[in-house]
Symmetry: D3
Subunit: 276 residues, 6 copies
């Protein structure tokens, strides 16, 4: 008698994997730009939003190289310096750049004041916690302790420099899941503020939760956000929410402090035999 068996994972969530920038730190995804401005403030250089956007996803060195290749930038720099930076000076600039990035990112943790109960819930449920970040390892390792202080005990983190393909490839999420020793990708939840991060989670066979207010869709610092009228907030929220749902996110919330109900719903759906 020919029989077929459809296996379904019906256990608990095993791991929650967070994106870093926009999701846990750097509420408005503005730290990179602010750090650059600060780095060149002594030259009175103003970097336009267009330029900042164009280089945001490049590694640190590539960002600086890009700028020094721009005529306008170069001449501005040369008004304050005898020559373009040599290799050693570039290295120093990168060091300063990273210091500024950490400074700004940590000034703007994406964690609203009410996020501690969620982290307690995660610990109590026994979920492992992973973090995927496109920061280099230096910056990430400086920010991790600050998150620990906020109550988020991180079991493993992976940097984009550790893998060969950037998001939306599933490389970061899968590498993190293997390191966390999870037993099934369907037992993992990816939390991310960006379209590419949601896609990364889906490509990895995981559940996904998008954050609409902290992160790249809002692109405002927490204080800028707080000063908006409710009408403005609603407009931004509904557009960001729709974009993340359109990417395929299973759930969209405002910030990480709102994910507990999603995790509980995922538990209920796993128990019923549903899959991400």
């Amino acid at each position: 008698m020919h029989l077929n068996y459809h296996r379904k994972y019906c256990g608990k969530i095993q791991a929650v994997i967070f994106d870093m920038t926009g999701t846990l730190v750097d509420f408005g995804v503005k730290a990179n730009g602010q750090a650059l401005q600060q780095l060149f403030s002594h030259c009175q250089i103003h970097l336009s939003p267009d330029i900042l956007l164009a280089i945001a996803d490049l590694p640190d060195l590539a960002q600086l190289t890009y700028l020094f290749n721009m005529e306008g930038f170069k001449s501005q720099w040369q008004q304050h310096h005898s020559s373009l930076p040599d290799e050693k000076q570039l290295e120093q600039l990168i060091m300063q750049f990273r210091t500024h990035q950490i400074e700004y990112a940590s000034q703007q943790l994406s964690l609203p004041v009410d996020s501690k109960p969620v982290f307690q819930f995660i610990r109590k449920q026994g979920y492992k916690v992973g973090v995927c970040t496109h920061y280099c390892r230096d910056i990430a390792s400086d920010l991790i302790p600050q998150l620990t202080e906020q109550g988020l005990k991180i079991d493993h983190w992976v940097s984009a420099v550790d893998v060969s393909q950037p998001r939306p490839a599933p490389h970061l999420a899968l590498t993190c899941a293997v390191a966390l020793d999870i037993m099934s990708v369907a037992a993992c939840v990816k939390v991310d503020d960006s379209l590419k991060g949601i896609e990364e989670g889906l490509n990895a066979g995981m559940w996904t939760v998008g954050t609409a207010i902290s992160g790249e869709y809002n692109n405002r610092s927490m204080s800028e956000w707080n000063q908006l009228s409710n009408t403005e907030k609603d407009k931004i929220r509904s557009e960001a929410t729709l974009s993340l749902y359109r990417a395929g996110a299973h759930y969209v919330v405002d910030t990480v402090s709102d994910i507990q109900s999603c995790l509980e719903d995922i538990e209920a759906r796993l128990k019923r035999g549903e899959r991400p």
Copy 2:
């Protein structure tokens, strides 16, 4: 208006990931036992099936240590040797053991004579090919070229020593998929002769194809198999097939040479928006 979007991968298969022992080489999963027998043949030691089974999944050194801790084995050895092997002699034994393993495994490729068309089909479709094995890296790297000769171009292989958790954890399959740069776990197919290997594939969110005749369920060499009556073959096939289906395998075939129709059916199902 609150809308939800369910994303489905509808593209082509991107990678086929094969288990090695039982699936591609060592038709009857007997090489380990034969190599041990050969290793100690000068001592007239006979190793019972029970002992062979007990140590089959241990690393090489652990297998030898296990045997030298058995009273009967020890005394038998000491009839031909003045003392138990020291560390250096153990190392030499391991080297010989591996040589025998390779010899036996490659004598018994699991590939029926008609497997070349399947490998051509895979190449023609542009699927990447991965291999996961619990052999150590030395043995595996010796066997890979023999498979290449048979027409299977392997893009990447991973050994169990590279990951922290054995099957049925998804570690090997996921590590291999990341190295193959696949974009979605749902675009991968795991081919395996063992229950644990099928589970590994399912845990990794992949499609799975079990091989019932080559591999651990049959546990006969290809020539032993060929000498069976059709009735005996049918009994073995139906029991092995049922066991692999019960593990959740999406398809079960006799050997790797039969997987083309499965791959074509998976393509059709992916196109319809089905998931593994």
Copy 3:
């Protein structure tokens, strides 16, 4: 990477669209027949149930024409009148007929005494309310205020004379939904006592709730119904309920006063991404 996205409406119910006769007024769907009897009572004409059924769905003028074409009826009429009615007299007859229809229909609102809480629930939820009727516009506009008095605030109503196709075509329900400015047909609920009305709702892509006791399946006035034994009631209820379920109704209840739990269940199902 080829991806497909299945969009699901997960918002709230936006509109509840009621049938009129049998659902909201004219509990036993007997008003038409009673009005005709009354119209010709001065001639001692008795109209058999067969004749009443045959003409029930015709427009008013067609009903009268039909009768005056019947030999028996004509001779009976001519015993009390010198001639058949001319055009003007026919118009007067129609006016009287409609007056009687309104009178009988409104004497027999289909609304049990406990229907007010349901209407309050609908208003509180912010659902828009539509009505579809096969009454001509004169009759309908006389009955609407009586329903408003009972607590049902109607945002829009459509008469069968406004559309080119009768039920089970979806014309009435869709025209009403457009007039109510709903955003998705899946956000609408059609409530109807008749098989054709349920099919109209399904054809329009809407949720459907059938009423088994008020309406054409029961075909008894409310007082006739109340005098039945429980056994008789159960038999009628179970047959009517089965017929409406067989038409594809998502829910079947006794009368409109029982629909709140259906609306709540539909809300829960919409939230889970289910469709009508």
Copy 4:
């Protein structure tokens, strides 16, 4: 015995409802802008893409009013005219504007040379053909005969001015379907080049087919498109295709000439009891 019956429409497609601009005419959705440029060419006014985008969806009069309220535009106009146009002159301008729109739109039918077989297929299958457009009735009725000449026999068309809500509300599609006397919304297919038009179809409970190359995503005239390299074409195609799939389109093709396989697949899915 409590039974529930889930009704499924398993019949044929009954109607195909096309959007006009971008889908059937005005390949690059540029006619509006070109018409405005032409209208004011005697004043040497150049209208920036930003301004054209801002007013593209406004009614004709509103577009002109918008321009005459812009300081720069006003002064430019006044260099060639003694005063701003009075009501009567505005009316003349609108007449000219429409003439130009028709001229440009019809110069750029979205129909590739190979679209006739599709229209023959539609006629042969007996599908009714509807058109929804946001053109005013004057322009639309001028363009319809040109489409007829191309082989598309249109049974009914509706203009946005006929309904109270613009897309993505389902008003246009539903009004058209009722006028076409379809029996079930699930038997209708909406073909559209724009995100809002796909959503309109989904909100109406219909199947949807997006056109990625003709229409608002490409925003190039057919000759501009034909001059692109294959790499450029692929980039535009894949982005437009993804956007339309993300909106929830059931199928995305290049232009209307590619929809036959979609219609055949929908027929097969309807037969299997699937719904849009």
Copy 5:
């Protein structure tokens, strides 16, 4: 790790179970009435359709008892007989009645001339054949050989007198399936002309095929049917078809000679893991 396994029967059809009256014999379900007429023809008794319908489902003795309790019938009988029949005479009447039933039923096999290929197909596929009938065992055993002659090899048949509950209870179908030694109810197909027979099959967990033209919905002899115009045929067919679909039949065809495509489709659906 908590896993759940959903088992699906994916094998072949194992048995086709046919209803007898209306499906295989007695095309118009008129044999019972004709036999009664014949039985009392010497008394010039005419039995109205209403009476025939009222007693159609009663056992033979009960039918006669019913008639002899009717005043009109009794007096008619007594015009030709000195007294009402005693027990022995009743037994003789029953014997004659059955003889007439067999005569009429077999004169009207429901099998169109083109049914032999279907029976060959069934035999070739190796499906077992069962028959469920509400005839008593005497009549059924007389009709079986006639069906065999037509090419239908019947492995087992069950009479309603063998079970405690009439259709729509699943008793007959399940008893037959057990006697046919089927391994799964999902591997059985019930073919029936009546609503209750379709429900019997569904209650038994089987696939169901309804016959709309032969059987109780048509209620015409084959020659009466053949004399109808195509319009009349279409009307009858579409009403009967809809009624059987509404009962939940998976397929509806005209007569048993049309079931091959249904059986092939069921095979395809079973292979895909679908269930009745």
Copy 6:
């Protein structure tokens, strides 16, 4: 208009059908072996577990015949008896054997002390209760009253001797369901401790609940079980549970006293239109 209707049973559970050995009596499925040991204890015969397993499913006479055909057994017997038993003596042995079976089975009811509430729940819900057993009718009828005493009111029981095919054929379960007059196989729940019994239920189209601790997987008496450490218990439980889930059981619990939540969940799923 072609429509299809998918009928779903949404009513209540109608019957719960229990396996006997291992599920209701004979907690460790050891009674057969113990009875044989007792039967031959006067001969000092020890029967190995292998032999006991080999004959466990044979009818009583066949078990004894098997033993007397074994050389070792025969000689052991002949040391205490002058000859092998003749037919009459065999009959006496069988009688004694059955007496011992009853004695041991009833000493080891599988019912934990807390099973009465479940039986009360079943009665209160109005579920019919069936029992399927492979015991002969003599033994079963002796054990039934003991179960009644424990609160389980049994409406009907069937013995394997009543049907032509053993489990996993659905014969026992279907025969029992027909005798219980259930209306739909989907309204039945089979409770069983063995893989074959779960398959029997699935083949019969029923819901299935496996018992992992009482029954053949544990194969320990209740007191042996109670003496295990929690670690040992967990290992046995998780292996048995996985095996029963792999067979396709809808639910797996420890013993019958844990099935109430399963029954409640099945009720909820039936109400939602789900099927076994």
